[in-house]
């Protein structure tokens, strides 16, 4: 198993504009691309066969949220 998902994390860091399109959605990232996205995690999981990294992209409402 790949350990750290470094490649996928780098994608998350470098693709701000792409993330903007998926606010509030679950995305699955494999290596250097999004392979599935949907508001419903179950739908994304059904689509993904690889060992992908999942990310629930924060929505607009989360920008100024206090996580405590």
């Amino acid at each position: 198993m790949r350990v750290g998902f470094e490649e996928e994390h780098k994608w998350v860091v470098r693709n701000s504009k792409e993330l903007e399109k998926h606010r509030g959605e679950w995305i699955a990232i494999y290596k250097d691309k999004i392979i599935a996205s949907n508001k419903n995690l179950g739908v994304v999981r059904k689509t993904v066969k690889n060992k992908a990294l999942f990310f629930l992209v924060p929505g607009k409402d989360e920008e100024n949220y206090i996580f405590a």
Binding site: G4, F5, V57, P58, F67
Partner: protein, 137 residues
């Protein structure tokens, strides 16, 4: 990104920029019931417990009926959550800890709180460089 100093693992992650804000998210793998779920979660020093959306528990086939019910309190009020022992993998480090899942978590983000994470790593947030550094204790 990963280096070993004095046999202590040091992990450094750049923050993700979404809109105009930076989010200190890191990749973590949650394992339970011989299932694993890799996801990006936000490091939250203000949270005692880690809190994940309920659909993460569903993906891991966690029977919520068998979980301990807990009430988590925050600035915005309280939410009911389900506590479950899991293995968290951050970098090469395996952490046996309890996390919570809640359907009442009304934010679209999964949170890594202090228990299990901040007692395994020294966590430093560099706001100027927009980086989070985790140094294994």
């Amino acid at each position: 990104m990963r280096r070993i100093i004095s046999l202590r693992e040091v992990l450094e992650y750049s923050c993700s920029k979404i809109g105009e804000k930076y989010f200190p998210v890191i990749p973590v793998i949650i394992s339970v019931n011989n299932k694993e779920f890799p996801l990006e979660a936000l490091i939250d020093s203000g949270a005692t417990a880690s809190i994940f959306k309920i659909e993460v528990a569903e993906s891991l086939d966690i029977d919520l009926e068998k979980c301990r019910r807990v009430v988590l309190r925050g600035i915005g009020g309280s939410i009911t959550a389900y506590a479950q022992r899991v293995a968290l993998k951050i970098g090469e480090k395996d952490i046996d800890t309890e996390v919570t899942f809640s359907k009442e978590l009304d934010v679209k983000i999964n949170l890594l709180g202090r228990e299990g994470v901040f007692d395994s790593f020294e966590v430093c947030y560099n706001d100027k460089e927009k980086k989070v550094k985790l140094t294994e204790y």
